[in-house]
């Protein structure tokens, strides 16, 4: 599998970019830091505690998009800008393998970002003396599939954009999707009822909120959401792979 060779190289390459890793870690810890500051302001009163927990679900969604952002930006848009994309494609590899390899690497860093975020929340909740919710199901059936979808979307944007600057603009806008939608759902929780739970982001938000509130999660709903989110990621990857077949994408003109 050449995609695994590409993924391993990308992980090694970006793991050496310490500045990028530090900035991604700060981004991932932004949520816990904000919640920590709010907790210091509100104390651990019931109302304050609820606000903290509701914010946690939104920031957990955002974290799935931020960990791999720098890697995604560098992946295709960066390679084209540094003119290393053409030498790569001159090797006997299918374009879909290039996309899969880079997606795996972005997903790896995105997952790390998400785990750093959750670890940060665990520390903050413990410090605020709030109960730490059991997030095993929301993470495995919700956040990990969302990491895969977020990474695929970021790679699609990186493939489409001509340079790193343009990719940075659009990737920053993409982060507003989970942020905006998550905040909306915190204030309008009714939107998570009915069949909305199968929609990526909406479903994850609903699942996280259920866990935080101590309500149960239906196994069928969790499985369906995971499958739909991963299927969406696959569709996006097919789109990115098709884009990479276009001359204007490869040569940037």
């Amino acid at each position: 599998m050449q995609s695994l060779i590409i993924a391993r190289k990308e992980i090694l390459d970006h793991a050496r970019d310490v500045r990028s890793l530090v900035s991604s870690a700060f981004y991932a810890l932004m949520g816990p830091l904000v919640v920590l500051m709010v907790s210091m302001g509100t104390g651990k009163a019931d109302k304050g505690g609820n606000v903290l927990l509701a914010m946690m679900s939104v920031f957990a969604l955002v974290a799935t998009f931020v960990g791999g952002m720098n890697v995604a930006m560098d992946s295709i848009a960066g390679e084209r800008e540094r003119r290393s994309l053409l030498p790569l494609l001159l090797n006997p590899i299918e374009r879909v393998e290039v996309i899969l390899g880079k997606w795996l690497a972005i997903s790896f860093f995105a997952l790390c970002g998400s785990l750093v975020n959750l670890a940060g929340f665990r520390v903050v909740l413990a410090a605020a003396r709030l109960p730490v919710p059991d997030l095993l199901v929301p993470v495995t059936c919700g956040l990990i599939p969302l990491v895969l979808l977020a990474s695929a979307l970021e790679l699609l944007i990186s493939t489409f954009c001509r340079n790193v600057k343009e990719a940075h603009t659009y990737l920053s806008l993409l982060v507003f999707a989970p942020m905006g939608l998550g905040m909306f759902l915190v204030f309008f929780p009714r939107m998570t009822q009915g069949l909305w739970f199968v929609w990526p982001i909406v479903g994850q938000q609903s699942m996280l909120q259920h866990s935080i509130d101590g309500r149960g999660i239906a196994p069928l709903e969790a499985t369906l959401l995971a499958l739909i989110t991963v299927a969406s990621a696959s569709v996006v990857l097919v789109g990115a792979s098709r884009l990479l077949h276009r001359d204007e994408i490869v040569y940037g003109s």
Binding site: K9, L86, L88
Partner: protein, 234 residues
């Protein structure tokens, strides 16, 4: 051996390459010479397989084509050795076969001293040699080189020339594109002159001078390409 037959490529209304045909034999360095916009880079990209021709065919024997087009494009956070290993793995090489071949290429290009150094901050010569090493890793039978001496100093150009002559003597087919006429005259065994997307002349430097009644390759080149461009503009 590389054989190109009736290659055609159009970008919108612009015909970049028009029914272009030529043959680059084994054991020879074939120069691809042409003015800016003649279609050299488009032709090389089509031969390398990263650009689909609208029509025509490219045939190349042996284990594939190694191509150094446009730019070196190294990975700056990887060492020289890692850059070579990565491309070797993408060619399906692994284990001792790969590490042995990497060592062989490093020695052939004189890169052993910088083998464990990351390529960020490399000189232009070191970058070019590393990029060349990457395309030599799977010992391809055919080599495509687009302006490989751009930005190189004289000693590096000389060592590159010596390497290419050695590869030619080992029987490889080398297609060498350059704007520098003197470079082509000194290095290439045969020259294919391209203008306005088609081949206007083929032969050794002496043959091209004789056909155009010119004293130098520069005069021959100007006569051949200006005539073609004049005909195309009519």
């Amino acid at each position: 051996m590389i054989e190109v037959q009736n290659l055609h490529k159009q970008y919108g209304r612009i015909e970049a390459v028009k029914s272009l045909s030529f043959r680059a034999p084994d054991g020879a360095i074939t120069g691809l010479l042409g003015p800016n916009g003649a279609g050299k880079t488009t032709t090389l990209r089509m031969i390398a397989g990263v650009l689909k021709p609208d029509s025509g065919s490219v045939q190349a024997d042996g284990p594939g084509i190694g191509a150094l087009l446009d730019h070196t494009g190294l990975y700056q956070r990887l060492t020289t050795r890692e850059n070579l290993e990565y491309f070797g793995e993408l060619h399906g090489m692994s284990g001792e076969h790969l590490s042995g071949r990497v060592q062989q290429v490093l020695a052939a290009l004189g890169l052993e001293a910088v083998a464990e150094r990351r390529t960020a901050g490399f000189s232009q010569g070191e970058r070019m040699k590393t990029a060349l090493g990457r395309i030599l890793i799977n010992a391809p039978r055919n080599l495509l080189l687009d302006e490989p001496t751009n930005g190189l100093d004289v000693p590096t150009i000389r060592s590159l020339r010596a390497l290419l002559r050695r590869l030619r003597d080992e029987g490889q087919c080398i297609l060498y594109s350059s704007h520098v006429l003197e470079e082509v005259r000194v290095l290439c065994d045969r020259i294919v002159v391209v203008a306005s997307g088609r081949v206007v002349a083929e032969g050794t430097a002496e043959e091209l001078c004789r056909v155009t009644a010119s004293d130098s390759l520069e005069d021959a080149f100007v006569k051949l390409t200006s005539l073609e461009e004049l005909q195309c503009s009519r």
